[in-house]
């Protein structure tokens, strides 16, 4: 019950954050999320920043270039948008860390299956990424050059996509084989 309430509260919070535009309010919201995170705050903030860096960075640069070219001031939009994205990502990471999603989804069996499968897939893919990193580390003593890093990134991305695709097919077959789509209760 506690997990479900926390998840609902977080979802409401995410909804509210998407409608706030004032940088000061967004800054306060980020501070509140970090206070709620307690000792995990620095790690959480770092992870959230890393997660959004590439996408938000690219969008911000393009937006700033377009607005500056037309003689406008891009700063207000950049501050509010990046603060909002960072706060929402931090809140999502906090929820993932503090809420037992399986318990929170306990109100619906199909939803609970989906959550369990999603968490299992995340664990599998995370292990794959870690194995890739360890394999790369085990094959050299220096940091890889740009070309190697690009090839490595491409290989990891492709492997994740292929693994996710293969696992999704196999999981669906396994569920079919076990009668998942033969629900006697619904018959």
């Amino acid at each position: 019950m506690k997990d479900r309430v926390l998840l609902l509260a977080a979802l409401v919070g995410l909804g509210l954050l998407s409608s706030i535009h004032a940088p000061r309010t967004l800054g306060l919201a980020l501070a509140a999320v970090l206070i709620l995170s307690g000792r995990d705050a620095p790690v959480l903030l770092k992870r959230a920043a890393c997660a959004v860096l590439l996408f938000s960075g690219a969008v911000s640069i393009v937006h700033a270039a377009v607005v500056l070219r037309s003689g406008g001031d891009p700063l207000p939009w950049l501050v509010s948008t990046n603060l909002r994205v960072l706060t929402m990502t931090s809140l999502t990471l906090l929820v993932a860390r503090r809420v037992d999603l399986v318990q929170a989804a306990g109100c619906s069996r199909p939803l609970q299956f989906v959550v369990v499968l999603a968490l299992a897939q995340i664990a599998v893919l995370r292990r794959l990424v870690r194995d890739f990193a360890l394999a790369l580390r085990s094959r050299g003593v220096d940091r890889p050059g740009l070309q190697t890093a690009v090839r490595y990134g491409g290989a990891v991305g492709a492997a994740l996509l292929l693994k996710a695709d293969h696992d999704a097919t196999t999981v669906t077959q396994a569920m079919t084989s076990r009668g998942f789509f033969n629900d006697a209760d619904q018959g």
């Binding site: 299992a120 196999t170 009668g179």
Partner: protein
């Protein structure tokens, strides 16, 4: 006759997986499906379980073709899913419940059997999983996941048990447990493996799939002393350097490196 496989052919993305495979199995028979990696063992089991439609050929279960029409017939499909079960090569693919107890009870509940929880408890005990019943299946070791997946199938008391490389991720003790368990069952079984040394323990009749995806052999489990040609053609022996008391030479080996 419980299953009849006729002229089965299948390709994945244009790459052949099975070519003209055919055999039959009587109720209670224990078949071993031997073949090297990529010979089509998993594909064959999935086709028999009605999960992949073959490009050509027919699988008949209990005198009815396992085809689109049969699988669209809800009462028949319900019966088929109760009676024919498949243990996947990666047991994690089968596990989607928060606890072991719920995982094992899922099949009987989903397929309308009586007292699903009581059945699950009995199989959890029999599989030696009592201490793990409230744990998440995904947090278990691969061998434990294999036991949970197997218990989740056997709890249905199936007529046909299809197992895809069931010993591939098991330690020796768990392998022994599985072999004992399979020998105690009266269910018809088809066990896919590339372990030649385990094959005689897993079944009395052997189907050998070749690297060309055809059925090379249907009969007794091949013996290294009498069937070396067949084993070589099926890529089930390995030739490597070998040291006998300081004398280094090369010859065929059939022992397993799992």
């Amino acid at each position: 006759m419980l299953i009849k496989v006729e002229h089965l052919s299948h390709a994945h993305d244009g790459r052949p997986a099975l070519h003209g495979v055919g055999f039959t199995a009587q109720e209670g028979e224990r078949l071993v499906l031997l073949g090297c990696n990529g010979s089509g063992k998993s594909t064959l089991l999935k086709i028999i379980d009605g999960l992949i439609p073959p490009d050509a050929g027919v699988v008949t279960y209990d005198d009815r073709p396992v085809d689109r029409a049969a699988l669209a017939d809800r009462p028949w499909r319900l019966r088929f899913r109760r009676e024919v079960v498949l243990l996947f090569q990666d047991p994690a693919a089968m596990l989607f419940h928060p606890t072991v107890a719920e995982e094992v009870a899922f099949g009987p509940r989903q397929l309308g059997l009586d007292e699903p929880e009581a059945r699950a408890v009995a199989w959890i005990e029999r599989a030696g999983l009592a201490a793990l019943r409230d744990r998440s299946p995904h947090a278990l070791s691969r061998g434990e996941q294999q036991k949970v997946a197997l218990a989740s199938l056997l709890v249905l008391e199936p007529r046909l048990l299809l197992l895809d490389e069931p010993t591939a991720s098991l330690d020796p003790r768990s392998t022994g447990w599985l072999v004992d368990l399979l020998q105690d069952l009266e269910t018809t079984t088809v066990v896919a493996t590339h372990s030649l040394s385990l094959a005689p323990e897993l079944g009395s009749r052997c189907l050998v799939l070749g690297e060309d995806h055809t059925l090379l052999h249907d009969g007794p489990v091949p013996r290294p002393d009498a069937d070396m040609d067949l084993l070589r053609r099926a890529n089930l022996v390995h030739r490597h350097r070998h040291d006998h008391d300081g004398h280094v030479h090369r010859h065929d080996h059939v022992h397993d490196w799992e």
